[in-house]
Symmetry: C2
Subunit: 105 residues, 2 copies
Amino acid sequence: MTYRAPIEALGDPMRRAILERLVAGPRSVGDIASELPVSRPAVSQHLRVLKEANLVTERREGTRRLYRLDPNGLAEVRTYFDDFWARALAEFKQAAEHNETKGEA
Amino acid sequence: MTYRAPIEALGDPMRRAILERLVAGPRSVGDIASELPVSRPAVSQHLRVLKEANLVTERREGTRRLYRLDPNGLAEVRTYFDDFWARALAEFKQAAEHNETKGEA
DNA sequence: TAGTTACGTAAGTCGTGACTTACCGTGCTC
DNA sequence: GAGCACGGTAAGTCACGACTTACGTAACTA
């Protein structure tokens, strides 16, 4: 299973809609598809992408497959963004102080 | 300027590369483009998208335009993701407790 | 075993978006 | 004012990805 960056998987609105429906607990493919304006195969393909990004895991149960959120992908996004946020914040503060010194606000 | 969801703007690798180069402070378009494997107009177009997502702001300085990170878009992504993370975490805990009760691990 | 349910996958279509080059406007500089 | 840097925009190309339908497969059920 080829890796895929979680943050890129999150770029698609339909995939975010799918993830939203998994946040309350595991769901089957057809169950999810019934709430979305796309076909079941489309949902299935999205779930594969989400799986490649470690954003969901799959568990077979009889003839159904239950998908649920995977903390790994979520943590990866959180780490990336927290780091980015921290660095950006540092720059903002520095810029603000610099402007104060120059009396620009 | 039509709005655009920040998290969708973050989906593109080149745009993330651009943001990475803005994290240390304001930069001009040509300056950014010189470090990236794409043309200057391409960078310009990406910056427009980022601006529509409130991820960057623009300040004119002579003939140049200095772009810098915009806290608004960043905060929006952070809010969205923090909320999502919190809900997911709650579900994980609940599932873990449920499994303990059932002795499944 | 035959039928049904639930999914995944293959194959093909179609729109979109990430590029390119060419061009135009704007603001310094000599 | 002429020339030059800087960058936004237009127009066109091209690949990719988000869909669809059709089909194949695995697992319950009667």
